[in-house]
């Protein structure tokens, strides 16, 4: 079954002439038809278009002939885009390619399939999707994580070769951990967001979700680079992320931040962390206890900044130019209010209201400006730490994947579970989740658990090198 294979292995077979790109599409179609009804990872797919593109694929390119599943908040020309929202479902076909899609095409890859997510990427279970439920392939009674839960689930279930996700507070790393795949959030500015539906613009990054660390490096190579259409994108530094990937961890100093091991961390998660860290030590790394003193303020800071930016970004969904428009409004304001009321789910409304509140006259300085200042302190924690260590190790989430609906009526509890991933977005640094072990659930299923590795600005190569070592342990 080609659908079970990695990019690396398929590329070897393609260039050796053993298989064709159409064979891969055929294998994925069979796998999706067999499994996706039970998993619910995809919102849409178009095999005919993918097969046409596969026939014309240029195998001399780095990703030539490789299909990539795309989170349904990234524009692919001619394909539907919903953000898992009723506001856009059945009402929007992308008129252009996001820059990451242009870059994937330039590398020879083929976008195939739209993956489920929490509505507008707001959530950490994918349970906020207004369209469908995605089940964790390791245990269907549990969530795949989120918000890139569909991308994580389809890669884990071998109904995709690899996928793109987006990460605003952990939305690539946490579902990768819950589903047992590799997920990388690049440094802020590494990857253009042009064509990604904006949630919180100072935090959003697009990144790879893959079956192996090598695949993550290959995909990252393809999507990074300067883009004049994203004013925050950084100049190219022409890094080849595969170059140093087999370098090992000998001599590396790996920080272990004490603040990431509060009582909230499940002992089974802590045990997997300790075991993995010990193996890295045995492989030649030095473990260094460190402190990131403002960690306890990260969730509060994030839930001011992210909703504030979301309330502004989502004002574009007004029912005028695209998406849902309410019928028979009393006047223009009523058209906005009703179109948005019908189109948005509860979590999106909560965050827009929270964001509108913290930005409103009289409260802006007390909340938003204050949070931006705390953000400076959180970033400084990392800058100080990276003066002494090469990378930082931590769990990805306090527990393995929860059951469906566990915190459905308690948003604050769900927000607090973001504690391990959220600070990296505030600081703009890169992070990766790599499978580290499994914990047995009460029903006997084996739930995947990842290790998070955080690096300094533009330190993706170090993360990949450490992650590859973890993968081989």
């Amino acid at each position: 079954m080609l659908s079970t294979e990695s990019i690396t292995s398929l590329r070897a077979k393609l260039t050796a002439g053993e298989i064709t790109p159409v064979d891969i599409i055929d294998s994925l179609e069979a796998s999706i038809n067999e499994k996706d009804a039970a998993i619910g990872g995809y919102l849409a797919f178009d095999f005919d278009t993918a097969r046409e593109e596969a026939k014309n694929a240029d195998l001399s390119l780095p990703l030539g002939g490789i299909p990539i599943a795309i989170k349904d908040n990234i524009n692919v020309k001619g394909q539907p885009l919903t953000c898992a929202s009723k506001f856009l479902e059945g009402a929007f076909i992308s008129p252009y390619d996001a820059t990451v899609i242009t870059k994937l095409r330039e590398a020879g890859a083929i976008p195939l399939g739209r993956t489920n997510l929490d509505e507008f990427a707001m959530g950490s279970t994918s349970g906020n999707s207004a369209i469908k439920r995605t089940n964790n392939p390791a245990d269907p009674s549990r969530v795949p994580g989120g918000s890139s839960g569909g991308s994580a689930a389809v890669v884990a279930a071998d109904t995709a070769i690899a996928a793109l996700g987006s990460d605003t507070g952990g939305s690539i790393r946490q579902p990768a951990s819950h589903c047992g795949i590799v997920g990388l959030k690049p440094s802020y500015g590494r990857v253009s967001r042009y064509g990604l539906v904006a949630f919180a613009s100072s935090l959003d990054q697009i990144g790879p979700m893959t079956k192996s660390v090598d695949d993550a490096a290959l995909l990252l190579n393809a999507i990074t680079g300067y883009d004049p259409a994203d004013s925050t994108s950084l100049e190219d530094d022409n890094t080849d992320f595969t170059a140093d990937i087999d370098g090992g961890v000998k001599g590396l100093k790996l920080g272990v931040p004490k603040e990431y091991f509060s009582d909230a961390i499940d002992p089974a998660i802590k045990a997997i962390f300790d075991e993995t860290a010990a193996k890295l030590e045995a492989a030649g790394a030095e473990l260094v206890p460190i402190s990131l003193p403002h960690t306890e303020y990260a969730v509060a800071t994030y839930y001011i900044i992210a909703p504030a930016e979301a309330s502004s970004n989502l004002s574009r969904f007004d029912g005028i130019r695209y998406g849902n428009r309410a019928e028979n409004p009393e006047n223009l304001i009523d058209l906005y209010r009703k179109s948005r009321a019908q189109g948005f789910g509860a979590e999106v409304k909560r965050r827009i209201i929270l964001g509108t509140y913290v930005l409103s006259s009289g409260y802006h300085d007390a909340y938003y400006t204050k949070a931006q200042k705390v953000r400076t302190l959180i970033r400084k924690d990392f800058t100080d730490a990276f003066a002494n260590v090469d990378a930082i190790l931590s769990p990805v989430a306090p527990t393995a994947a929860p059951k469906h609906g566990e915190n459905a009526d308690d948003p604050l509890t769900e927000y607090l579970a973001d504690i391990c991933t959220i600070a990296a977005n505030l600081a703009g640094i890169p992070g990766i989740s790599v499978p580290a072990g499994t914990v047995e659930s009460d029903s006997g299923t084996k739930l995947p658990v990842g290790l998070q590795i955080l690096g300094p600005d533009l330190g993706e190569s170090i993360l990949l090198k450490i992650a590859k070592t973890v993968e081989s342990l």
């Binding site: 209201i353 509140y357 931006q372």
Partner: protein
């Protein structure tokens, strides 16, 4: 920090969102809990600290002032809820 209670109906109106009766019943408690938690930041003295808007070292980048084609009228209007004569059609806004 300021108050820890949101007048949900008022703020929803600012955000141009009509709430259902159920949302009006559940949101106030949920949002007040979140605000109460956010209040944690008042423990920190941030006097003299510069705010961080985003983590990129790039600011105020200005592109070349060169005209380039956009996505085009037909592509734009293809997603419009209502259009006529190559234009968006909206409800009457002036009585």
């Amino acid at each position: 920090m300021a108050t820890e209670h949101i007048d949900v109906r008022y703020v929803a109106d600012l955000a141009r969102i009509e709430l259902t009766p159920e949302e009006e019943a559940t949101f106030p408690k949920q949002l007040d809990e979140i605000l109460g938690y956010i209040h944690k930041l008042s423990e920190l003295d941030v006097e003299g600290i510069e705010p961080t808007a985003h983590a990129s070292p790039v600011f105020d980048r200005i592109r070349e002032d060169v005209a380039k084609p956009g996505i085009g009228r037909d592509a734009f209007l293809s997603n419009a809820p209502d259009s006529a004569n190559d234009q968006l059609r909206v409800p009457k806004v002036i009585e």
